[in-house]
Amino acid sequence: MSKVVHLKRGLDIRLKGDAEKVFGSSVKIDQVALKPTDFPGFSPKILVKVGQKVKAGESVCLDKYNPEILITSPTSGEVLAINRGERRKVLEIVIKADGKNTSVDFSKANPENLSRDEIKDQLKISGLWPFLKQRPYGTVAKPESTPLSIFISGFDSSPLAPDYEFILKGQTSAFQTGINALAKLTDGKIHVGIRPDQANGFFSGIKNIVITQFSGPHPAGNVGIQIHHVSPVSKGDLIWTINPQEVIYIGRLFETGNIDFTKIIALTGSEVNSPKYYQVIHGTSLAGLLNKTTKQEAKERIISGNVLKGENVGADGFLGFFDQQITVIPEGDYYEFLGWAMPRLDKFSISHSYFSWLFPKKKYKADSNLNGEERAYVMTGQYEKVLPMDILPVFLIKAIIANDIDKMEQLGIYEVIEEDLALCEYVCTSKTEVQRILREGINLMIKELGN
């Protein structure tokens, strides 16, 4: 019987546009893009030229500071463009897919017969390594290090999140192979956190893992929260994390010797006509997917990821490296007459000063309006209500604003990344940009103390 952790604090924001558990018609993948900006702290060196033909699994760029970490093409095709932003920062490497999805041939092998270094080499050369993230900081794992353990969250609790049981169905074999490979990378265990109702689901058939159940509202599904309750990260500790779909990539690599970046994502949000699941390729261009599937009633915000930590990519954007969800919500760039005095029956609030507490089942169509102006901190005790961790979030944020590294360390910056404090930002009366401040703090830690 697996251990059960009951989390009380948190918040499930009820939004319209949950994906129905069916697949949408297959979408022709025209272009894919790799976005080095998806990796915090990654400094890309481009290895391809525009017009060059690449296969799936062929290196496209590497990290200047850790040249072993390669990012490889998700599909076969031709490099179409390298888009740069301010100060020639690489934003996207766009690849035009040829539709064949031929892969570089990496030899197939049973990971149980391979050594730790052989597995590492295989993951590095195939471009699967960057899927491994480390705690603290949520940056790409360092190949030379060995983590205490590896954590995988078996469910996503964020708003409109895809159901992992649905997207993982039928991939037990690849997942098991992936787990077997990962197990070689740590001397500790592989921990998987699941919801209580998944007790007999996908993960119950997997060997070589330790299952812990987490009940309660979001952010129960965040791997950072799960680590905190199983094996909290203190100074000097190192834990790696990875998503289940990415474990399957690893499994496929060892089972077939090929790179197959096919993944299942959910197209969700109030502005989607009929939210469904889609089978796409990692990094896919969203234009095809969004064609005729959104309502086009108002200005839309296309988010790669969920509403709490996704990126606003626009209708011509690409799926983010780690994302398994697209959310489309209305933009909120409107003025609301006497907004502070209105009943706002159509808006959700955790506070009882609006009336959403009267309708515990109602689902809301949330837009991107801030619903107020940014202010200094006035209210207290709000963040604590949505963060199920033994951390004082406001004081951590204040320590970051003050650039006080000692306090940041003492107050638990090693344990959190943006997604863990996203709800704090959502409920903040003063509209403080919590996630931006936290990342600045993490960047400062890396700069001062090393990664």
Binding site: S234, E331, Y335, K347, N371, R375, T380, F395
Partner: protein, 387 residues
């Protein structure tokens, strides 16, 4: 509304950098955002935000004070009637009192908001909403006979030296409204204490025989408890006192609103009450005089205790910011308030000073709470390393 919006959009460039009235930018912004929640959208982090903002928060607190304000208006008329033997109806009493309060409210908001607007403009910030609450709190904790110029002076002192020099709403150390009251209390004691100041017209006119205007707290301090009001009269608020503080019942309605909306901290309210009861009980056990023998629950309905516990102690900026700290902070306020009442003959009411003192202590309380939190986290790391 569309024409109003169009008008604002047309005028907006005039108030922005480089515009003709750029110096009034904050003022324009304040009026604009009062009329319309701005069209700002998420730029980083979360893409959606909770519906609540500081304007809503503050307006809920003001709403929570309305029952106390309405009752306070009525009570001015009622007390005046008692003093001079005039019979008035419910509405007449209310109107009589409201006419006396209105100028105080207008002066409080006029002076306070004026300073807020100027300070925001000097700093180039938005005008913050904090004064919406302070502006209503101040009239409710003053005696009805307060001269308007004193209100203006106290508001100016409190807003400038209690808040703006620290950086405005969210940065102040002491509760601004209480600071205004404390300023008057020490600068003009004759207008802020005694038996006459609480009843309209009492200082200048002769009351009916036997009417003193003394508050229950004053009677206790003087040892003239034979004429003291009953517990139920004190709970309902049919007693002399500052404008909005006499009725515990109406304050409780406010407390219910604050607790239900989650805006006021129930932990602080409860622990304040517990602190008062604890010290009250201790006094009972050691009682050597009548005041010490007073049943502890009397403290909850007398003077500004309830009003202070619900509306002043819970001010999130000046209270403890940690959840554990709130328990200590509230308990100490209740305890100190009763101590001052019972043992210090110079100050019949201890609530104001207890809250102000704890405002100064709250960072220290937070400091210790955070230190113990850090120690616990370190211990966790150590036990993990050497299990």
């Amino acid at each position: 509304m569309k024409s109003l919006r169009k008008y604002l959009d047309k005028k907006k460039p005039l108030f922005q950098t480089g515009g003709k009235f750029a110096k009034l930018g904050s003022t324009f912004g304040a009026i604009e955002t009062f009329l319309f929640t701005p069209n700002h959208t998420s730029k980083s982090g979360v893409h959606i935000h909770d519906a609540i903002d500081l304007k809503r928060t503050m307006i809920v607190v003001v709403l929570a004070m309305v029952p106390a304000l309405l009752f306070g208006s009525w009570n001015i008329g009622y007390q005046n009637g008692l003093a001079f033997g005039v019979e008035r109806g419910l509405i007449e009493n209310f109107i009589f009192g409201f006419i006396k309060i209105l100028p105080i409210i207008i002066v409080s908001y006029g002076v306070g908001l004026g300073i807020e607007f100027i300070a925001a403009q000097i700093r180039g910030h938005e005008v913050n909403e904090g004064y919406l609450v302070t502006g209503m709190l101040i009239p409710l904790i003053l005696p009805v006979n307060i001269p308007l110029w004193m209100v203006a002076l106290a508001v100016a002192f409190a807003v400038i030296f209690g808040k703006e020099i620290f950086g405005g709403t969210g940065y102040n150390i002491m509760n601004v409204a209480l600071l205004a009251r404390a300023f008057l209390f020490f600068a003009y004691p004759s207008q802020m204490s005694g038996d006459a100041v609480w009843i309209y017209e009492l200082p200048s006119k002769v009351p009916v025989d036997g009417f003193s205007g003394a508050t229950p707290l004053a009677q206790l301090a003087q040892g003239t408890t034979s004429k003291m009001a009953s517990f139920s009269d004190m709970f309902m608020g049919f007693i002399p006192g500052s404008i909005g503080e006499t009725s515990t019942l109406t304050v409780l309605i406010g407390a219910a609103i604050l607790i239900f909306t989650g805006i006021g901290s129930w932990k602080i309210m409860l622990s304040t009450v517990l602190g008062a009861l604890a010290i009250g009980l201790l006094c009972n056990i050691l009682a050597v005089n009548e005041y010490m023998a007073l049943p502890p629950y009397y403290h909850l309905v007398m003077g500004g205790f309830a009003f202070g516990a619900v509306f002043m102690a819970t001010d999130p900026v000046t209270a403890s910011h940690t959840e554990k700290g709130k328990w200590i902070y509230g308990f100490m306020i209740g305890a100190l308030a009763v101590l001052i009442r019972v043992f210090n003959p110079a100050y019949p009411e201890g609530m104001m000073l207890a809250i102000l003192l704890m405002n100064i202590w709250s960072p220290l309380i937070d400091y210790f709470v955070i230190e113990s939190h850090i120690k616990r986290r370190l211990k966790r790391a150590k036990t993990k390393a050497n299990p």
